[in-house]
Chain length 309, copies 2
Amino acid sequence: MMLKVPDHQVAGHRQARDGKPSPLIDDAGRFYKPLQDDDRGSKEVAFYSSFSSNTRVPDHVRRLFPVFHGTQLIEASDGSGLRPHLVLEDVVSSRSHPSVMDIKIGSRTWYPEASEDYIQRCFKKDRETSSLSLGFRISGLQIYGNEESRLWKPENKLVQNLSAADVKVVLKKFVSSNFPDDPNSDPDCSFAASVYGGSTGILAQLLELKAWFEDQTMYHLNSCSVLMVYEKEKVLKGERSDAEAKLIDFAHVTEGKGIIDHNFLGGLCSVIKFISEILTSPDECTTKVCLQDSDKNTNDSENCTTEGL
Amino acid sequence: MMLKVPDHQVAGHRQARDGKPSPLIDDAGRFYKPLQDDDRGSKEVAFYSSFSSNTRVPDHVRRLFPVFHGTQLIEASDGSGLRPHLVLEDVVSSRSHPSVMDIKIGSRTWYPEASEDYIQRCFKKDRETSSLSLGFRISGLQIYGNEESRLWKPENKLVQNLSAADVKVVLKKFVSSNFPDDPNSDPDCSFAASVYGGSTGILAQLLELKAWFEDQTMYHLNSCSVLMVYEKEKVLKGERSDAEAKLIDFAHVTEGKGIIDHNFLGGLCSVIKFISEILTSPDECTTKVCLQDSDKNTNDSENCTTEGL
């Protein structure tokens, strides 16, 4: 089995750093995620085991989660020896030029059962990023331009605390044909209908997820992300879009105990609202969005740029 | 104009205490709420003024808010002299024997624009009550029994931190014909269909509210309550139920700035889920609810009583 480090990880904490091994992929579409040493690793295994064998999860919801292939002891990417890995469906790297956005859902990433130290750290970060105001934060993204070699991958710190107007611009850039890091061009949203829209598009997938969260009281998906992925090349060639939404990162899942996950649901509805607005008003100019969204105390025209992006 | 102190206030902070004057009512169905001295009073006036003149609010949503009749200088209930009052539709006291429940919506009652002191106090209270876990807390309630003179009005402190199982019991008692403070009788839910159900029942009203919150980005209703009111006598006599849901308490409303109120929406969806379950499984016995909802570490049968209620 040939394993390699994947090219397309967009959220910081999933990459190798702080001496931790990075995930690995094989050429058969599997993603190997090293189990974290603390109880996060075992919690994530526990969630995947429970979820994959839970007959109450309908098929149209199950396909919004990566397929789980169990755990496996393999050599860690940093050469530190054999280590247990989660074996999952590789959502991203099986595509050649995937545009990817990782959106961490929820205005609150902590949960009552966590340690006070963890709660305070999350509480601080939620207030420092857009999580508190928007109900989600963009944890990372990469967008391919029209030419294969060009990739826009802003630093994660730059996208975690965007205003409503700037999040809308980024969500538009994600589905635009003009090159995303050009500050002089407004995103044209020319792929919005095929990526976000339609009966199999990302919005339809998120709405199925929403309907399930309005009802299910089994799991609370604290600090989970929705990953949106698609291959721009396909859309450019006029092929059917392969756009997918997938939930990832389950190290902090807790039992629902008969209560819906109102924190995840609220944040998901906020993402849905942003994407819906792009679909219903694709021609809306950036300035108009800013006039509507900007704070009264700031200058509207200044607010219309996505500074630093 | 004859004014009197209303009989049926259920949420603590709306009653006279700490030397503050209480609200007043007249016999023409109006409710006079003294403006609070700090900026909460002016904030609530600002919200009612904005909302009542906002042509983007559809009629079916507007009727879920008390009608606003402006402000008026009247003698305060505590004889402290003339004082400005909000003049509102009297939702509760115009009924002779109203059963009332005040549910404060949202897992978070604070908001970023508030002072750090206020944030920390709310944060603490949200964690100490059911707000954090359930996405709402019962702020107060009164339920009339079958005989006119009997009223069950538990102390507010006893209902603010209920478990999921106990909230369900209280929501069942609210629509049951057997007397609510009898610990030996399971609530029979005999009024569930006429109060919660049907095309004009409370669930239908909450679902209309939910649809609006999925879309509107004008207001964030921090620390607001949904008041559920109905007259049990009417249902007992076989008359059409007058059940109503009304939003109240807008002293902490902030501008939406293009973002949905995901905190309110999440909490509202949680209330809706509880009420839906009562409607879809009215015959479900208390024990069964407890087995499903109880924490693994507690004894199921113990958990099936609503101790102290």
